[in-house]
Amino acid sequence: MFVSYKWLSQYVDIADQSPEELAEKITRAGIEVEGVDMPASDMKGIVVGYVQSREQHPNADKLSKCMVDVGEEEPVQIICGAKNVDAGQYVAVARTGAVLPGNFKIKRAKLRGEESNGMICSLSELGIESRLNPKEYAEGIFNFPNDVTPGEDALAALNRDDAILELSLTPNRSDALSMIGVAYEVAAILGRSVTIPQPNPAEGNEHAAEAVQIRIDAPEDNPVYIGRVVKNVQVGPSPLWMQTLLMNAGVRPHNNVVDITNYVLMEYGQPLHAFDLDRVGTGEIVVRRAEEGETFVTLDDAERTLSADQLVITNGKEPIALAGVMGGANSEVHAGTVNVLIESAYFDGQIVRAASKAHGLRSEASARFEKGVDPARVKAACDRAAQLMAELAGGTVLAGSVVAGEYAPEPKKVSITLDRLNTRLGTDLQMGGVEDIFSRLQFQTETNGDEITVTVPTRRGDITIPEDLTEEVARLYGYDHIPLTLPEGESLPGGLSPYQLGRRTARRYLEGAGFYQAVTYSLTSEKRATQFALEVRKPVALAMPMSEERAFLRESLLPHLMEVASYNSARQMGSASLYETGAVYLNEGENVQPKEEERIAGIVTGLWQEHVWQGEKKPADFFAVKGVIEGLAARFGLTDRLSFEQAGPEGFHPGRTASVLLDRQPIGVVGQLHPALAKEVDLKEAYMFELKLDVLLQAAREELSYTAIPRFPSISRDIALVVDRAVKAAELEGIIKEAGGSLLTNVHVFDVYEGERMEEGKKSVAFALTYVNPDKTLTDEEVTAVHEKVLTALKEKANADLRT
């Protein structure tokens, strides 16, 4: 909403407030002023000129040589390129030395050999957007109506010396979608009175009811419709003051009849429509729901197909307007219009919203109906427009209004006690102060002991409950005056849940292992949505995505991590370790919330370790990343419950990928990105993992218990086994553990050899075994007995021989 300072000053005394001061006060009281535009601030030296003569420039077809009276003794010669310049026009002249917006300085110049002492200006050149220029001047220079004098300040004549406040309105404050509404607000802030026009059009003898009859067939959607008839108007430009104020309010001037409806719309916030009564044809107005599939041409010359959830104004036969949205081409006011029907009505917000949405037509009018207009202004706005048409378009207002329906809702009464007000705000206000605030808002109040009852004018439809009164008091009392306190009463111990703590631990662990945390988008393409997923389901799709790239919810964190690694690799950040924690979304069926599982995933590319000058370079490999997972499991005390199994999920290197299991249930994957895929995204070797963080953390939620440090020495035995190449180390380890029993406290691989010194198809795996008895010192014999059992089991179950 653009508010002209000059226009506003018609209703409330703001002479002592600079536009900036006023803007700050309005903002602090609740309506944000986004900016204050002072168009004249970057212009000077522009005066009214009278074009005494115009002749063709001798050397240029498209230029005119004009003698212009600028209020001085001698006229000045100006060369003008506008097509529409002519003798007898009053125009805006930027004199030599003038400055136009954009610091454009006007200098004396010679154009094709002819001297030019200034420039005749278009409205765009004076800083008015061309979409707001009256159509006839949009392509050329502006002509003043005859009521100006050469030499006078053209910027003042055009109301360019105004200040325009841009209000950013929240949806509840539609009351401020009018000059009068803003005036009430400003008056409340400043504690001043409001002067509202009291329209009282002079009426002719003929009765409006004889010229038109109005019937509402859809009273739910349209409780009241008021028509006034103005006959014998002369359609022409509206006066300069009205055109310029409209442009300052962001409305394009058309002709006096249309401008008046727009002016009153901006003034009262009540949308009006003017029909050419003769083109309506039937002398009848019927408001009804559109028929399904009915067609109608709106005044922008577009044919609209209507539906039954839209409301139309008809002449009893066919639609002549889409109610509250746009008029029809068939009944539009035009240059030859003589008799006008002014429509002022209350249309239901929902039905206007539906129609404006369906046809993509949002207008000043529809926006106001959608948010709800003040029913108390329907009649006054109609009268105001009729009066202005009589005054400015020379028409005769027919006697009386034609009124169909009735809509005069009682103003709401809302009560609140002083105690409730103070306890909600934390203030210590007195009743007198509260009454004063409501009187500044021009709300009537009645005080009964501790309770105040406020009669809320219909213009403030946003106030319905006691809390709304609290807000009015708070904002006008000033939030700066509310003290600073902290909640009293029962205090709670704050903290992270064990799960949240575990998540932080997991993140810190990975960061300690050299991983940087990435955060990527949850939305992705169809292809990426299921890529690398531990569990592939039909991906959850957006109903109306903004792009194919962001149309589905991801089922794995890895695709985007792969893209991040690729992005960094392309920027010479060759070695990268990145991880992410976040949800994946698993479809549970139509209209059911997907299952959101929290995952932790990582990717490693390039070098795992590097020490340049010592020549140490360890590229990342499967075991580097597997080690990270084992460390994470160890961090949560899950080492013994974790295992790995060779796996071949799609997208991974078939020989270098494992499924990660917790208590033998799969919880993730670790492996090398398939080289073919890596090539697609310009990555060399990349290793990735993804784990079900939620499962991991749930499993980890056990109390830590301490086991005594063994007091007796341990005995170590190393064994090198020769087995078939296909035998997995984990298998051997399992056999050893089982056979070793309780004395065996540790077993780990310390060497693997698959080279030429081995028999074909065989490999050697060496284990270190540690035996301890917590209760006494082990004897060699005891260890040997167990160790023999281990070797026997290995031979029996894995055909493992001791390497000699």
Binding site: R353, T423, E467, G494, Q517, V519, L523, L578
Partner: protein
């Protein structure tokens, strides 16, 4: 004999002093003081001496032995010291060469900001509530006083999956779910961090995915002044003790009264490019929980009141670290991420 001893001493001391290494020194010790050495020989020959000469001679032998031992020990320590010196000299390194790098990782700046805010409110007695990102229309809008067709729904352009399912546009549905869990009994004191989504085209200041932290306190006597005091404490700890807050009336369907909260700019009110010359930076939206929201969540609004607030981690991180483009958070350029692993 006395002469002979003196000469022995002189000779041994001289040799010890001249010894080149520990082995040579040891040879000298063996040669002079060993079982077959001359000093021992002298002692053996003492039997031939008279009774009065004997103690005199014994004392002299001891003096000589002492002197030789001292000379050898002195030399030994100096040789040992030399050896250590030599070893140390050989072992010295160029300390200006780079050390073996320890791989460092780090938090994403959004996590950093989130945890900082979480910890700050945990210190004030809050717990952290989380909830689903794909929400039902009911929890995201209707239970927050935003029935279907409400014009204020336009304030949050939404990604719908079906007419009833959507990507949450704020973390407020977590507040609703938490209140329902409390079944009408206070107090509730939570913050709700998480990802949220809106139908915005990604550019320098907009992102279709971003993060929010919302807070909610419901109790029997929660006042607007409590909201102000809480946010003042937050601003001071998050941005600095010298910061102030300012409340401006605003509108959110789920709070009444509603306010926007500005924090004073680090320029100290002089005006700068960050605050666009106003001295204030808009950081939070807040308000007193709307009675309809309390009632829908099972709380008696005549007994209970509450406040709620919400802020965006991206915006806070951008302000705190001077980041100029919101897309950086989701591009994950290592050169960007690495800057946030520093402890402050």
């Amino acid at each position: 004999m006395e002469e002979q001893l003196k000469q022995l001493q002189e000779e041994a001391v001289k040799k010890a002093a001249a010894a080149q290494d520990l082995k040579e020194l040891n040879d000298i010790r063996v040669a002079y003081l060993g079982k077959k050495g001359p000093v021992t020989e002298v002692l053996k020959g003492m039997g031939k001496l008279s009774a009065e000469e004997r103690p005199k001679m014994g004392a002299l032998v001891n003096v000589v032995r002492e002197a030789i031992t001292t000379a050898i020990e002195t030399k030994q320590s100096s040789l040992e010291a030399e050896a250590i010196q030599k070893q140390l000299a050989e072992e010295s390194v160029d300390v200006t060469l780079p050390g073996r790098p320890v791989k460092l990782g780090g938090h994403h700046p959004l996590t950093r900001v989130t945890e900082e805010i979480e910890d700050l409110f945990i210190g004030m007695g809050y717990t952290i509530a989380e909830g689903p990102e794909v929400e039902q229309d009911y929890y995201n809008f209707e239970a927050l006083n935003l029935p279907k067709g409400h014009p204020a729904r336009d304030m949050q352009d939404t990604f719908y999956i079906t007419p009833e399912l959507l990507l949450r546009t704020h973390t407020s549905p977590v507040q609703v779910r938490t209140m329902l869990k409390h079944a009408g009994k206070g107090p509730v004191k939570i913050i709700c961090p998480g990802k949220v989504y809106r139908r915005d085209s990604d550019d320098a200041t907009h992102s279709h995915q971003f993060n929010q932290i919302e807070g909610l306190v419901v109790g029997e006597n929660i006042r607007m002044s409590d909201l102000k005091g809480t946010l003042d404490a937050f601003a001071k700890r998050m941005f600095g003790e010298d910061r102030e807050i300012r409340l401006r009336p605003s509108f959110f369907p789920f709070t009444e009264p509603s306010v926007e909260v500005d924090v004073s700019c680090m320029c100290g009110g002089k005006g700068c490019s960050i605050c666009k010359g106003t001295g204030w930076i808009e950081v939070l939206g807040a308000g007193m929980v709307h009675p309809n929201v309390l009632e829908m969540a099972g709380f008696d609004s005549t007994v209970y009141s509450g406040f709620a607030f919400g802020m965006g981690q991206e915006r806070i991180a951008m302000l705190k670290y001077g980041i100029d483009d919101i897309r950086h958070f989701y591009t994950n350029d290592m050169r960007f991420l690495k800057q946030f692993s520093v402890h402050e």
